[in-house]
């Protein structure tokens, strides 16, 4: 009897204990919004009242762990900022890019987000919608000179701003194209589907190359939607119908998308491009070593390609498959977490980073396109007459955002799998139908992600690039 009593009370105690623990755990997702503000006001008031007190620490997370150059530039900016005033001290923590998003999601669940977060452009709407980013209250005119695609907008408000933009192009060699009598395309007159396809066939038939076109299939993850969804959009399809953001039906499995899918599969069937098992090392060196004739890659790859080829290097525009030449837009940007207790300081720091000199520093260091014209004019690689100036033009003329909706986060994973499956020989129509169903099921399960099905903007075939406006 006695033992039973002790046993029962112990079990009861344990159950209560574990319930308390789980209650804490499940409360966390809503935690940042509900618990933080009380603390915020107290701390800020205290500091405002007493400027001589120790500086407030602003924590910042960055996705660039492992990149020494990038890190040094960032640390330089942080040092400049920390020594320019004594109210705040910014401390940065680096994450490897591959696990960065997971870390932020986990931290958001646990209520441990830092003050300043960097966020990949297409992911931003999801984080803003989920409530762990807070709108940026920048001073008037701060964004005036910035390229539109470097400003992260959601629900009519600015949530993030990028210090650089990225652009993709076809890397080629003039000597190679001349040798096989292939026309060199221009921004005004890019290759169309037939011309591009014929060029690939010619280059493959020459036998001089392992493959005619390196798409970068080795780069799993965000590269697939970033690098390849512009092809789909150029065919006239899309990942999600961006006129309503509530369905993928008809855009990811419509006739244009099926035409894209058939062409995509044929690239690998005909042996024009290396498939999903491409070695990442070949992706890095194949074009430079002359094993691939063309390379579809971003501006960041420019420096290493310019070195061996010099004037022979061509940076060609994306082909126009019928709905305008298109390239991806929206790179990494900076925003403030909703849980931040020092939003003013975080905003101040982001504005500090937005100075042209730092835009130039990042551009010169990691070869990205500066976000403003004035910064581009003084940068090493993107000023007038500089080797990569053309990227600035491509970005201005062809940049197409990946669908700016919270649904993109899941849709991107589904799209990546569909493209890999089609490349590996899956039935095109079935694969696109299934991907469409998966995306629609996710949108439905999330109550439309804040969209009600009404038209909110132009579709991919009505937007500025397609209509030439």
């Amino acid at each position: 009897m006695k033992i039973n009593k002790v046993f029962c009370s112990m079990i009861a105690m344990l159950i209560v204990f574990s319930l308390v623990l789980t209650a804490c755990g499940t409360a966390a997702p809503n935690g940042p919004d509900t618990t933080a503000p009380d603390v915020v006001d107290e701390t800020t008031e205290e500091t405002v009242g007493d400027p001589s007190s120790t500086p407030i620490t602003l924590t910042m997370w960055y996705h660039g762990a492992g990149n020494e150059v990038e890190r040094n530039i960032l640390l330089g900016i942080i040092n400049d900022y920390n020594s320019s005033q004594d109210k705040y001290v910014v401390v940065v923590q680096d994450f490897p890019q591959i696990s960065y998003n997971e870390s932020v999601v986990a931290a958001a669940l646990a209520g441990n987000l830092p003050d300043i977060i960097d966020v990949d452009g297409p992911v931003m709407p999801n984080w803003a919608w989920a409530g762990y980013l807070s709108p940026l209250q920048l001073s008037d005119g701060a964004l005036d000179d910035f390229l539109p695609t470097t400003i992260g907008m959601w629900g009519g408000e600015v949530y993030s701003v990028g210090l650089w933009e990225a652009a993709c192009a076809l890397y080629a060699r003039k000597s190679v194209l001349d040798a096989y009598g292939i026309r060199i395309p221009t921004l005004e007159q890019p290759w169309d589907l037939e011309e591009f396809d014929a060029a690939l066939e010619t280059l493959t038939a020459s036998g001089e190359f392992d493959y005619a076109l390196d798409l970068g299939m080795a780069w799993t993850g965000e590269w697939y939607p970033y690098g390849f969804s512009p092809f789909l959009q150029s065919f006239g399809g899309d990942i999600i119908d961006r006129s309503t953001f509530t369905t993928a039906e008809g855009v990811l499995n419509g006739p244009e998308a099926i035409a894209f899918g058939e062409w995509w599969q044929s690239l690998f069937v005909r042996g024009l491009a290396p498939g999903t098992t491409q070695d990442p090392a070949d992706r890095d060196t194949g074009f430079i070593e002359g094993r691939y004739a063309l390379m579809w890659n971003g501006n960041w790859a420019g420096a290493s390609a310019l070195e061996p080829f010099g004037d022979d290097l061509l940076i060609l525009p994306a082909p126009d498959f019928g709905n305008g030449s298109r390239i991806g837009a929206g790179s990494w940007q900076f925003g403030i977490s909703a849980a931040s207790q020092h939003k003013e300081g975080a905003t101040e720091f982001i504005e500090f980073m937005m100075q042209d000199q730092y835009l130039v520093a990042f551009s010169d260091g990691i070869n990205n396109i500066p976000s403003t014209l004035t910064a581009a004019a003084t940068s090493k690689n993107f000023s007038s007459g500089a080797p990569f100036e053309i990227f600035f033009d491509y970005s201005a003329a062809q940049a197409t955002l990946r669908p700016p909706t919270p649904a993109y986060l899941t849709a991107a994973l589904i799209f990546e799998k569909a493209l890999a499956d089609i490349a590996n020989g899956a039935d095109v129509v079935n694969t696109l139908d299934n991907a469409t169903d998966d995306i629609n099921a996710d949108i439905a399960a999330n109550g439309g992600y804040g969209f009600d099905g009404s038209v909110v903007g132009p579709s991919i075939t009505e937007d500025a690039i397609a209509t030439g406006r």
Binding site: I3, M10, L19, L21, L109, T276, T277, V429, N430
Partner: protein, 374 residues
């Protein structure tokens, strides 16, 4: 011996007022098990109950929307199956229309599945089709990737459990000898176990590489150039066997050691008796070694099965389920759905189905390997 112990026990119990003492002892026992009980509750029982609850809702990892109760919707989506029969297209005379290659033609399946006039097929995906006569039978599933993952997981377990257990026993028999240098072999066989499976997976990705992988190079060399290099991870037929071989190589050492422990527990006198009876090596194994290993065998069978059904790390590192879902597994899908796609409810549903799968397999094994009492 036994008698002596009994006396001592008896003396001890008689000299103390044992009713009080026993309750005190029980109390101490409970106190000491508190850490374990708390850990099991917090990390096993409570998450299990939560997973069960989540699987009946539309819980997201992160969402501003409130969680809604959806009943068995997730289970239906995950497990539903249906067969669709399509009759061939016919011309005016009632003869099937043939395509250029002379094959019977069928209407497009998507015109049925995606047709609002056939709501019973909404949300189904094609898993497999068979043409029988002038009809095409299609097996449709709500979640084809999960179904393929389930088959892959069972396939992996079916090969790995007997394969790895058998190989472990073979190695244990080989090193269960008192010859010089046997310790070197024990070390070599055991070495892969101490290497992290993540590192092994990354290394094997290089070894299996199609262009210049070690395996292809070796095969080309020993076949004097007659072997055409295969991209092992790129083909739906070779990817899973390649992962099986790697997994067995990495994990066989630990089972070898467990078998070895079992072997060394068999009293030597039994072998001597068998020798006197004139038993040969096979007979000794069949009638002395194997019966002596019964408990070890049951233990190894159950642990390998559970580990094999939980296949995840190799997939996550090497193939991410590809090519064409040929290496996708149940746990990989649970993580992909639950965490990557932030659909906790669906991930929980997969986990629960996995739990039932493991439980039933383990119980069947337990029943089949029970000690038969005379």
């Amino acid at each position: 011996m036994t008698l002596k112990t009994k006396t001592i026990m008896h003396d001890r119990t008689r000299s103390t007022k044992w009713p009080i003492d026993q309750s005190k002892e029980a109390m101490i026992a409970w106190l000491m098990s508190i850490p374990a009980i708390v850990l099991i509750l917090v990390f096993l029982i409570v998450p299990f109950i939560l997973a069960f609850y989540f699987s009946l809702t539309n819980q997201r990892l992160i969402s501003p929307n409130p969680t809604e109760f959806t009943g068995l919707q997730n289970y239906r989506q995950l497990l539903k199956l249906r067969v669709l029969r399509l009759d061939s297209l016919i011309d005016e005379t009632g003869q099937p229309i043939l395509d250029e290659a002379g094959n019977v033609t069928f209407p497009l399946e998507r015109e049925i599945i995606r047709n609002p006039d056939y709501p019973q097929y909404a949300g189904f995906q094609n898993w497999k089709s068979w043409d029988i006569g002038n009809s095409r039978y299609s097996l449709l599933a709500g979640d084809v990737v999960f179904m393929k993952s389930l088959i892959n997981t069972l396939y992996f377990a079916l090969v790995i459990v007997p394969g790895q257990a058998g190989l472990g026993l073979l190695l244990a028999l080989l090193i269960n000898q008192r010859t010089k240098g046997v310790n070197i072999f024990r070390t070599i066989y055991f070495m892969p176990v101490v290497v992290s499976i993540v590192i092994v997976s990354i290394l094997f990705r290089f070894i299996y590489s199609g262009d210049n992988g070690l395996l292809n190079s070796v095969l080309v060399f020993i076949s004097a150039g007659r072997f055409t290099p295969i991209d092992w991870m790129a083909s739906t037929t070779t990817a899973m066997p390649a992962i099986m071989a790697m997994s067995a190589w990495q994990a066989v050492g630990i089972h070898m050691v467990i078998w070895l422990a079992g072997l060394q527990n068999i009293p030597h006198v039994l072998y001597e008796a068998a020798d006197i009876d004139g038993a040969n090596a096979i007979q000794k194994f069949r009638f002395v070694t194997w019966p002596g290993l019964h408990n070890t065998a049951v233990f190894i069978l159950v642990t390998i099965t559970i580990a094999a059904l939980g296949l995840f790390t190799q997939i996550h590192v090497m193939t991410r389920g590809g090519p064409l879902d040929s290496t996708s597994t149940v746990i990989f899908q649970a993580v992909r759905r639950g965490f990557d796609m932030q659909n906790i409810a669906y991930g929980s549903t997969i986990s629960l189905v996995f739990f039932i799968l493991v439980l039933s397999v383990a119980m069947i094994q337990r029943y089949l390997t029970r000690e038969k009492k005379a």
